[in-house]
């Protein structure tokens, strides 16, 4: 087992980061009182700031650790993730960002329930948000477990569980103290640090190999037991008809799911208007392109310099490729820095998720479903904070249970859920006048339900050596990622639900308002 730096140094770099960000969060949020401040940072961020924060939401543990690890282990098949991640921003830019900013205030539920019957639609939207955020959160927490295992050389499951719990508690603290403004600042700081980090590592690696990507990949093939075949598709997904379909299904979930994630959608509310929302996606796209070009270099660099087998044998497995590479090229100090940034990444993303989940519960379920729109704002925020604590505890438990799974893969399940439940519904409600409450409910529950069912009966859960329950077999759905079936199914459900039911008279009037607001941005100021 390779030595992995100095645990004390790693921990102190991380502790310094947490202290600095907590201080900033505390300073940013002294006036954190109204619902708009807590959920949407008072819509006070600029497009550029929010763009960096948006990419921060995606430059997560899954991207940095999972994708560079995926490339280091599987070459070409890992690269597919990066491509999907970048292209997906176009869905956000062209179809979602501006319409969402113009018609909602705090949550996805605001947009989906805009012209529908409030209570059932908000309840459905909140259910979807909670399920999606929970899956995504487990992935991030599992990433934290792997990283801790590597950095502190903690190999006992109990030790890792304890550290996951600490990460969870710090994250809840960010949300409680800072609300959306605090989490956005943490997100911005960490996105900048992470970008600097990966860019410098990539430039260094390229320099070492005479600025030839080909040379890096050439040496990489020598340290992978597949040899040159690792540069071709199929290293992970193989060549059976089913595995090819699984690959396509994953690709579809990636491209359609990212811009449908509740915590990403919620980010569009932190800017003052639609043109700033557009600008933020443009910023995010640039940052993502740079970042994923770098993960390509870092992934193959790790394969070349550390070797796939060493990575697989390290505590934390695939997810530890980037930290191991950092240690190989920059010693204990660089490892400390990279790990602190990776930790910060997990903290920031999980804080964003917690905020999205708690906002959805407090604003949609508590204020609009239970209190029927008559909730006292102060009480609503108190409920939101309480929910944040509950969500934090659940994610700690989930993270401990999922510790050791490849985080990019777990994220892909969350993306399939998001694309199935949210994308179809948002597109219909913005662009289809006839769409109604029944259609909304059908597409949310149809997408969410079919996706969850297919995950439960897929090889991810049971029947294969890599399953969560390897010893029993109740799988009958052959694909690991259900997106290929569940995404079109939710579009179909939304369509059928609408054509087989009448449009409510109130909906017709509100539909005009929604269209004018979404497209022209008139009458949107709150």
């Amino acid at each position: 087992m390779p030595t992995t730096g100095n645990p004390v140094l790693n921990l102190s770099v991380f502790a310094v980061f947490v202290l600095i960000t907590l201080y900033i969060v505390y300073r940013a949020s002294s006036r954190n009182v109204t619902a708009s401040d807590y959920y949407a940072a008072g819509s006070s961020f600029t497009g550029a700031q929010n763009g960096v924060a948006l990419s921060g939401d995606f430059l997560s543990a899954a991207s940095f650790l999972g994708i560079s690890g995926g490339i280091a282990a599987h070459g070409y098949d890992g690269f597919l993730y990066s491509v999907g991640w970048v292209v997906a921003w176009l869905v956000g830019l062209l179809l979602i960002a501006e319409g969402l900013r113009n018609t909602g205030r705090f949550t996805v539920g605001d947009v989906l329930a805009f012209r529908m019957r409030q209570r059932p639609v908000r309840a459905a939207a909140a259910n979807a948000t909670l399920v999606i955020s929970f899956f995504y959160m487990i992935a991030q927490m599992a990433g934290a477990g792997g990283l801790i295992a590597l950095l502190l050389n903690v190999s006992s499951k109990w030790g890792q569980a304890l550290l996951i719990a600490v990460v969870g508690m710090v994250m809840v603290l960010y949300v409680l103290v800072g609300g959306m403004k605090g989490t956005t600042w943490v997100q911005i700081i960490k996105a900048v640090l992470l970008l600097l980090c990966v860019t410098l590592m990539s430039v260094f690696l390229l320099g070492k190999f005479g600025f030839s990507l080909s040379a890096i990949m050439q040496q990489a093939t020598e340290n992978n037991k597949l040899g040159e075949a690792v540069l071709d598709p199929g290293a992970k997904y193989g060549f059976s008809a089913m595995s090819k379909l699984d690959f396509v299904s994953l690709a579809l979930s990636l491209v359609l799911g990212i811009a449908s994630l509740p915590h990403v959608l919620m980010r569009f509310y932190t800017v003052p208007n639609a043109s700033e929302a557009r600008r933020s996606v443009v910023w995010a796209t640039w940052t993502m392109v740079i970042f994923y070009l770098c993960t390509l270099v870092i992934g193959f660099g790790a394969m070349a310099l550390v070797g796939t087998e060493t990575i697989a044998a390290a505590p934390g497995g695939e997810n530890s490729a980037a930290p191991l590479l950092a240690f190989r090229i920059g010693g204990a100090v660089l490892l400390g820095v990279v790990s602190a940034v990776a930790f910060a990444t997990i903290l920031a993303v999980v804080a964003g998720l917690t905020l999205a989940a708690s906002a959805s519960f407090a604003h949609d379920v508590y204020a609009n479903v239970i209190k029927r729109g008559n909730a006292e704002p102060r009480k609503e925020i108190r409920v939101a904070r309480l929910t944040a604590v509950v969500v934090g505890i659940l994610s700690i438990i989930g993270g401990i249970a999922a510790n050791g799974q490849n985080v990019a893969f777990l994220v892909s399940l969350a993306l399939a859920l998001a694309a199935s439940a949210n994308l179809s519904t948002i597109l219909y409600t913005i662009f289809w006048r006839r769409f109604n409450t029944t259609g909304t409910l059908w597409s949310i529950y149809g997408g969410l339900g079919s996706c969850l069912t297919l995950i439960i009966f897929s090889p991810v859960m049971s029947g294969a050596k890599t399953s969560i329950f390897p010893d029993i077999d109740f799988a009958w759905f052959p694909l690991g990622n259900p997106g290929l079936v569940s995404i079109p199914f939710s579009f179909l459900c939304g369509f059928l639900g609408t054509v087989f039911s009448k449009q409510e008279p109130e909906n017709a009037a509100k539909a005009a308002e929604m269209e004018v607001r979404a497209i022209a941005g008139l009458g949107t100021k709150s």
Binding site: M217, E228, P233, E513, L522
Partner: protein
């Protein structure tokens, strides 16, 4: 509908005084806003300015969505079903598949910049025009 639900009617109050002056000059502008200061969205939806805006928006975003999705799916499907083709080495050990993947990055940047430019030139001015005609602002 419940009282505390957020309705844009309430939000228009602040703007009313600001608009009062212009409304005297042009009484037609008043008809897009009712006596409570709530914009009449059905009327706005039927103006030529709005229809033009909607046409300009949809004729850009939907074809572009089809374009980038097909380009992405081409890459994905070739990777899955035309292994030999994408494994063709082009520069050193870098094969066609990796280049196609990087090509997706280029497509994303081009469409992003293209939309940004289109929105500034063709959509935002039209939105401004509609806001001036109807007297309803953001």
């Amino acid at each position: 509908m419940t009282k505390a639900m957020w309705s844009p009617g309430e939000t228009q109050h602040e703007h009313q005084e600001l608009r009062g002056f212009a409304s005297f000059e042009d009484p037609a502008a008043l008809s897009y806003v009712d006596s409570n200061g709530k914009p009449n969205f059905v009327l706005i939806q039927q103006t030529d300015e709005f229809r033009t805006l909607r046409r300009r928006l949809t004729t850009f975003i939907f074809p572009m969505t089809v374009l980038f999705l097909s380009s992405y799916l081409t890459f994905v499907l070739l990777s899955a079903y035309a292994k030999d083709l994408v494994s063709t080495k082009v520069i050193g050990v870098i094969n066609l598949g990796i280049l196609l993947g990087l090509g997706q990055f280029v497509v994303s940047i081009l469409i992003t910049l293209g939309y940004s430019r289109y929105a500034k030139r063709r959509l935002d001015p039209q939105r401004q025009l509609l806001a001036e005609k109807t007297g309803v602002e953001e």
